[in-house]
Symmetry: C2
DNA sequence: TCAGCCAATGGGAACGTTCCCATACGGACT
DNA sequence: AGTCCGTATGGGAACGTTCCCATTGGCTGA
């Protein structure tokens, strides 16, 4: 440890060790086997004495590997995004990569900028969970050879891997559970799906199951800020149920939150009117009588994303892969029409078909 | 827009524009006024034609400003951290800075690494919300001239600004509210304060107010995973209350979450036994009968952090500053002993002394 | 015994920028 | 008319790495 202001350079280490800078460079860029034992010792000694640390800027300039992975997140305040991010992070750490996160805050211009920033730092891969409206910029990045993983989105014109929930399975599981619990009339609520393909996929699957017959279902696409319209739709749906028991399926955590708020405010009884959401939230077991959810395996999803990146870094030109994961159902009071007082009832974690289905498209 | 694989360099732009690279460099490093109008026009034309974008690596290598701010977060899954982060981000955006976030996940080794990573990219400032046990590494960074802001922490031996909640005011507000509501016996629960000075500050203030007399209070320092000990302590506290009404004050959001869980599981009636927490959480109004909180002004805190950074970037050598912010009290059912059914009751946002007190230490 | 090779090492040119210094030129002042 | 200065520009050396291409010396195999 020396106390000089400016950090030590590779040249100083080389001088101190009495070797050439090339050898020191080799030591730090994973070519240690090429060096003799004596050489290695002298280098470590000098490096630790000087507190040397390679300068990634210089390294990146020349073109060596950066060990950096970027992640672009649309909304950092969404707990689901954070959970995935955590998964990605752990996978990165395990792989010896550093993760640099940028939040675009759902702002298009911001997203474009972040993308430019990220791509200008020689990242070795990019995990994207954002609107994806800049498919041109993304496509360019992908074409330039940067491995790309789309989280929970798919973009037709971009050559990239995709990782996410098995949306069809999720919708099917939800419908099956709700019907099992005796709910005959269902309402699927989602935010506008234009920007997120997973919303679209869930909506479509639900619609498809409705058309299949046997299912009396309806869908509501709504901007969550629009409380008035939500309240109206809610009332209309409940009225329309007739003899059937009504239940609501929320497309994601944000919807679940908004809906729980409104149902509470309007005095609807949870369970009486079924409520179920995709995405597990930390308060789902706290609000009476507990909210039934389909939890996404965020850890596995994050891991898979990083795996894709690394695979592509090695064997670059494969067809885009697509990995989907099944959710885990946790049944709670909000889908129990009999309204059993759930005082001490532990939640019954029902199903957990956490199989991984991989399909190359 | 050209489709070449490698991005255009400054030299190519210069050639295309028929000027020298120095002039192009000047154009992009904020010295546009020094260039003649004709020169400027030729440069923009060439640059846009080639899709030129300055390479931050090369720039950082030479020593120009990077426009980068780093943020080190101890636990990204903590909603409070995320809220602050969001504030910092917005402030950065407004100031034309980019934010690069690293999460240390409460892991010391990880933290050390992230710090190294961040400091190796020529960041212009660092916002730290982490254990701070590496005060040596932090001190070194600060000494080397990087502006440093400590969030919600203070570190004796590090020359850095500090921004955070006015902990004394928060504790005082909480105590005042609880007594006003008729609670005579208080229990303050916190996670071990060793690593976080704000925990320490809150604990100390509470203890101090106990010693002042007039307040019958107790404190519990506990690892949140230790459910058994928590349950015991809870029971003992409730029993010990005697004639007085008991209330619990949670030192932060994590504690509030854990405690709400346990109280629900054990069948304690919220309100009957008061519950109040520092940090607002999205579900506080969802769990019956609503939980009273002191919300931190996370936006303002984030803004202040960035302000500190920028101030220090200009006039480097001032004494460390310290900015604290008062919280906002939102009273809900969990501190209403009369147990008014809160069906439609809107929360009464009581106080909001969001004054900023700045003191130089 | 000598060509040929491999393993270990070093020298120097890139990489794309910024910044110091030099140059050219026009106008103001003596 | 000549000196001086200020303004607009350009040339070239850094910055700290990596990587290509030597160079050395010991060893194998004909």
């Amino acid at each position: 440890m020396n106390d000089r202001r400016r950090p030590a350079t590779i040249l100083e280490v080389a001088r101190q060790a009495g070797v050439s800078k090339t050898s020191v460079s080799r030591y730090y860029s994973g070519e240690r086997e090429r060096l003799s034992g004596a050489m290695r010792e002298r280098i470590v000694a000098a490096a630790t004495a000087l507190g040397y640390q390679p300068n990634p800027m210089a390294r990146g300039l020349k073109g060596g590997p950066s060990g950096l992975v970027g992640m672009l997140v649309a909304d950092i305040r969404n707990p689901f995004s954070v959970a995935i991010m955590h998964g990605v992070e752990q996978a990165c750490r395990q792989a010896g990569l550093s993760l640099m996160v940028c939040n675009s805050d759902n702002d298009l211009e911001q997203e474009r900028q972040q993308l430019a920033l990220l791509s200008s730092y020689r990242i070795e891969g990019l995990v994207v969970n954002a609107t994806g409206r800049h498919s041109d910029a993304l496509a360019q990045l992908a074409d330039s050879g940067t491995p790309l993983v789309l989280l929970d989105r798919s973009l037709a014109d971009v050559h990239a891997d995709e990782v996410g929930l098995d949306n069809d399975a999720a919708i099917d599981m939800a419908i099956a559970h709700l019907r099992e619990q005796g709910y005959g009339r269902l309402l699927f609520i989602t935010e506008p799906p234009a920007q997120a393909s997973s919303r679209q996929a869930r909506l479509e699957r639900f619609n498809q199951r409705c058309r299949d017959g046997s299912l009396s279902g309806d869908t509501l696409v709504i901007e969550l800020g629009d409380r008035q319209r939500l309240d109206q739709a809610l009332a209309r749906f409940v009225d329309s149920a007739g003899d059937s028991r009504p239940a609501i399926l929320c497309a994601n955590g944000q919807v679940t939150l908004a809906l729980t708020r409104r149902m509470k405010a309007l005095g609807y009884l949870l369970g009486e009117i079924g409520l179920m959401g995709i995405d597990e939230l930390e308060w789902c077991d706290l609000t009476e009588p507990g909210i039934t959810t389909l939890a996404q395996p965020t850890g596995a999803i994050g891991q898979a994303a990083v795996d894709c990146l690394r695979a592509r870094a090695v064997g670059p030109r494969q067809a885009p892969q697509r990995a989907t994961f099944a959710p885990t159902l946790t049944a709670r009071g909000s889908t129990q029409p009999a309204a059993t007082p759930s005082a001490t009832a532990e939640p019954s974690s029902v199903s957990s078909s956490s199989s991984t289905s991989e399909t190359s498209s």
